[in-house]
């Protein structure tokens, strides 16, 4: 049995008495897509923000590749090859694609200045692979379409060779064609052996893309199942009722 890429063990976090995430354990294997489902406020995003370093958990452990790690900041997460694509995209609208792609990890010249030319050249190269239609390299990203912005966010994860990718509603703001593009990319990255946590409201999309799904309600995991073992209705009832029909059966 291979070592899990990520093991989150007994994670808890509370905000002012509300247990946003309550004793949750999850794991993720290389080349696997694990979907997180649940109502708004079920704790999915909070759990994922702990892994990406945006929040600090109150208790619990995170293991990466069989070794326990401390993740206190987004920088720690990046150092563990964890990249996150946020629902809100987390791009600085006033900067161009290259500046966003390298934000916090700028390429510098020997004198320590930001090497814009090299950054732009690298951005050109990666964009040619991910989204060949991407031409607006000089424009601030506010001038880009939803799909183009999404490809900047994804390029960031791909360029820095993430091994663990967190995607929080990656297709929420996208059109049909762009959603297809993201789906293709997930399949492609999966083949390369990345582990992906995917958050979405779209149950059908999740059934198509994920290997396993975990359903959360009120900060707890209702159940984790392989997609081939459950129907869409099973998942819906887990989301709504907070009970795992398979466990009951």
């Amino acid at each position: 049995m291979t070592t899990p890429l990520v093991q989150m063990k007994n994670i808890s976090i509370a905000f002012g008495g509300v247990h946003a995430v309550d004793d949750v354990s999850l794991d993720l294997y290389p080349g696997e897509v694990v979907g997180l489902l649940g109502h708004n406020g079920a704790g999915k995003s909070t759990l994922i923000k702990i892994l990406s370093g945006a929040y600090r958990m109150d208790s619990g452990e995170i293991w990466i590749n069989g070794a326990k790690v401390d993740i206190h900041s987004p920088r720690d997460a990046r150092n563990n090859s964890i990249e996150t694509i946020y629902q809100t995209l987390a791009l600085a609208d006033n900067l161009d694609a290259a500046s966003n792609l390298f934000l916090g990890r700028e390429l510098t010249t020997r004198l320590g200045f930001v090497d814009d030319s090299r950054q732009e050249a690298e951005t050109r190269r990666i964009m040619a692979r991910l989204n060949p239609n991407f031409k607006k390299l000089k424009e601030p990203v506010s001038a880009l379409s939803g799909g183009q912005r999404q490809s900047v966010a994804i390029a960031r994860a791909v360029y820095f060779k993430a091994r663990i990718l967190i995607m929080d509603e990656p297709t929420a703001a996208l059109g049909v064609h762009e959603t297809k593009m993201v789906a293709d990319l997930i399949t492609e990255l999966k083949k390369q052996g990345l582990g992906i946590f995917l958050i979405s409201h779209d149950t059908r999309e999740m059934m198509a893309l994920c290997d396993r799904v975990s359903v959360m309600k009120n900060g707890q995991v209702v159940g984790t199942e392989r997609v081939e073992d459950v129907t869409e209705d099973d998942i819906l009832s887990m989301i709504i009722l907070g009970k795992n029909p398979k466990a009951a059966a």
């Binding site: 809100t88 600085a92 609208d93 900067l95 934000l103 916090g104 320590g112």
Partner: protein, 432 residues
Amino acid sequence: MSDKTESPSHLAPRRSLIRQLELDTRLLGMIGAFVVVCLVFNFWTDGRFLTPRNIFNLTIQTVSVAIMATGMVFVIVTRHIDLSVGALLATCTAVMGMLQTRWLPGHLGLEIGSPLIPWITIGLGLLVGALIGGMQGWLVGYRAIPAFIVTLGGLLIWRNVGWYLTSGQTIGPLDETYILFGGITGTLGWFWSWVVGIVAALAAAVGLWAARRNKISHEFPVKPVWAEIAVIAITVGAILGFVAILNAYELPDRVVARDFAAYGCAQAEGCTVAYGIPFSVLLLIFVAVVMTVIATRTRLGRYIFATGGNPDAASLSGINTRLLTVKIFAIVGVLSALGGVVASARLGYHTNDIGTLDELRVIAAAVIGGTALSGGIGTIYGAVFGALIMQSLQSGMAMVGVDAPYQNIVVGAVLVFAVWVDIEYRKRTGAR
């Protein structure tokens, strides 16, 4: 009417010309506004506005506010504000005034007139500015108190700390080396002004050409060679023209005649001495260049603009936005102290009301120069131009003899109008 119908065909080639030269249209707009202001006042004053003498005065009057405005750009870009720069300037000049006239002489073996005094004074003054600014930044960044409140408190505190330190007295006369930073008392003279001008022109030309080579090496599109050469020619022309104007302003004949030997003349007759570039203007150019490099070429600058554009994105990218806030306010503190050196050196004294209302001039300069209060947008050269435009308006109206209340009414109206034009411009061109 016929003009209007023809205008599109006239405009089209001109627009593409600007595009081919890859000139910054905002910069052009600001230069245009400045030129209009100058021409109007020149006409109104029967040609007295655009004389070497007035241009010289205009530049040295602009320096103090312009230096601080370059720092204000960073503050406003990160969605903060600093209302305390004028008061901070006063505290710093009070400290520097007391240091050089009271505290340092008689200690450490230093006497009045010692060559070390001005430099120790300036060093400590900048340090005080950095510490006060950094402390305000800490309150904003780490304690999450709105910058408006912290610096509003600062405005009251530092204005009166300055008062307390000097017991409200005018401190001076200041050190002779120190006052060289004031403007008319410290200039490069004819020869060195040309040396500096020619070196700067060469550096600009080489720099622009090197940037082109760098683009080619990465296979980026570059503008045609003729356009590149045109831009270089305009830049070099502007630098040398500026030096020529400052060198055309000469010391009054009577002053030279009194001591012609000291100016290297064999006889009083025909002996002319040019002022040349003031040290304070060199200081401003140096500050503007360094701040521009920080803004566009360093990680610090990239993080400042990223934080201004989307604070959440910046912190999720691993940027320490709290420490960044401390750094930004410390930079403004240092620049306020530096503005204080120039302002007090120009007067020759520290006065109790030095820098009063400077915070508003500095903010206005940054905003007229295109810095958006919503964050993420602003340029250093814009702020310097903003300061220059404001000073031109104020000096021009004073020369024309506009009544004092009207002067401020006009400046206030221009501030609001300039921001409105900028907002409309952004809407038309689509962001940026």
